[in-house]
Amino acid sequence: MRFLTQDPTLADFGHDPWWLILLKIVVAFIFGMSMILLGVWFERRVVARMAVRPGLNQVGPFGLLQTLADGIKGILKEDLLPRTADKVVFFFAPTVPAIFALTALSVIPFGPMVSIFGVQTPLQVTDVPVAVLVVLACSAMGIYGIVLGGWASGSTYPLLGGLRSSAQMISYEVAMGLSIVAVFMTAGTMSTSGIVAAQAGGSEASWSIFGWHPTVPSWYAILLIPSFLIFVVSAFGETNRAPFDLPEAETELVAGYMTEYSSIKFLLYLLSEYVAMVVMSSIIATMFLGGWRAPWPITAFWSGANSGWWPLLWFLAKVVLLLFIFVWVRATLPRLRYDQFMKLGWKVLLPVNLIWILLLGGLRVMQDEQFSGRNRWLIIGGAVVAVLLVALLWPARKAEPKTTLEEQMSARPSGSFPLPPLDLQVPPSPRAKRVVAERRPANVTASGAGSGQVADADTDADEKEV
């Protein structure tokens, strides 16, 4: 890893004067809040466009103030407390996910070292050696808000929704935690600013294609593509977004854990979903898409793209792009069934993750320990052959013995449903043909011989007239 001059290191954090800390916190807070307002607007607008509707366009220019109006309306609504609710838990549960999601914003690097009122400081609220773990801890704590909200309502649908949601989130939390491991392995650090620095600039490859040393892409989205894909999928599961929005599956659970909530508490749950989405997008941008660094074609002809305040722009662009993908997926994919969802999490994402981590570890160590080229290829080839052999020799599931239809029918136990005769052919009614031919000969020839059904329907109607 090489540090450039504008790269903040861990030593740069924790030295800000108090007013700067307050300023950063307030700005981070305002960023989170305005991203919620804009995010809801963005989502409704984009989904509308994808459904060929105009979308929000009544309040303010392009309907931008609609979210604000909805928020104010929500605050003025009556707050209902179910008789059976657990009052204290019912009160504080909605705040938990929102608060912890906002806390996770503090370790997101928005940019390099900048000068704010004459003080050189990183454009990041704070960074610690275990910053990514802070994000994980925050998302683990956020689950409490949902399971407790569902429990405290004292009602069936919220309880089921809360349980489902928490089981879903813990399942995908596992996949998410493990997919980060590959990033740590490559970057050698857990601090977010360190991970961004580790993705700086491609280095020339040690191998060559006919004398040409290609530049190895430095974004972990490309280098560690299995981790990237797993992380993105589990980010969808973790934020309860479509196609994994099972806890609020209206057809099954009314509104899930939010059923009994109204007024500002309902808004808080809604809001925390969007904060979580923004935080997840920022984390994906930071860990896999090079953070605040400008993407490749820009850096090729503009050397100043990664200094000063410009990186804020690249970072926001990446976040908005990821938010768009969140919305796009929601507009495209139908909701999964719960068993399919759990199967994906535990039987696909988790095992693939474990194998990938160990494989990556082995490869990297072989690279470090300077195996000569032939030995390395021998080992890799041996591993591939072993995997192929296992895959080939794996005892296949016992093939079902082929039975004909007659055998299957005679094997049915007595008392089964009667089957219609399989060779049943309904002969065409000669009378119907005659009627059609007599009355509307032009129609038959126009629609051709294949559309016999249409012709039959016509004749039915005609017969009634007769």
């Binding site: 954090f13 924790g14 707050d79 179910p82």
Partner: protein, 123 residues
């Protein structure tokens, strides 16, 4: 504020600001909103029927198994994190990878067991 604690204090401060913000929002809501409680409003939602009793249904036991698997793999992840940071430092290398391979392999047996016993099949 010192360099070490300063970074974490900022985290705590943001948490405190978050709590404060939502307390203020809740108080504002309490002052602004209408409040006309009635017996019908305080019943729980039951698709148009009158709910009978307070419904604190019992959870299904399979959630417990999933929570246990979560504990298993959370612990594994916590062991994997420090390993990931140091495994290719000088002095570790292949030994560290093999050590972790054994650890992950043993835990993967648990997953395999659950798989074979159809615990992971949500029916």
């Amino acid at each position: 504020m010192g360099g070490y604690l300063g970074s974490y204090a900022t985290l705590g401060l943001l948490l405190a600001v978050g709590v404060l913000f939502f307390l203020v929002a809740m108080t504002a809501n309490r002052l602004l909103r209408t409040n006309r409680p009635s017996a019908a409003k305080s019943t729980t939602y039951e698709c148009g029927l009158d709910p009978v009793g307070g419904d604190w249904a019992q959870a299904q036991i399979r959630y417990y198994v999933y929570a246990y698997l979560y504990v298993l793999f959370a612990v594994e992840a916590v062991f994997l994190f420090p390993w990931a940071v140091i495994f290719d430092d000088p002095g570790f290398g292949m030994t560290a990878v093999v050590e972790m391979g054994i650890f992950v392999g043993v835990l993967a047996l648990g997953l395999l067991y659950a798989w074979r016993k159809r615990v992971l099949q949500w029916t």
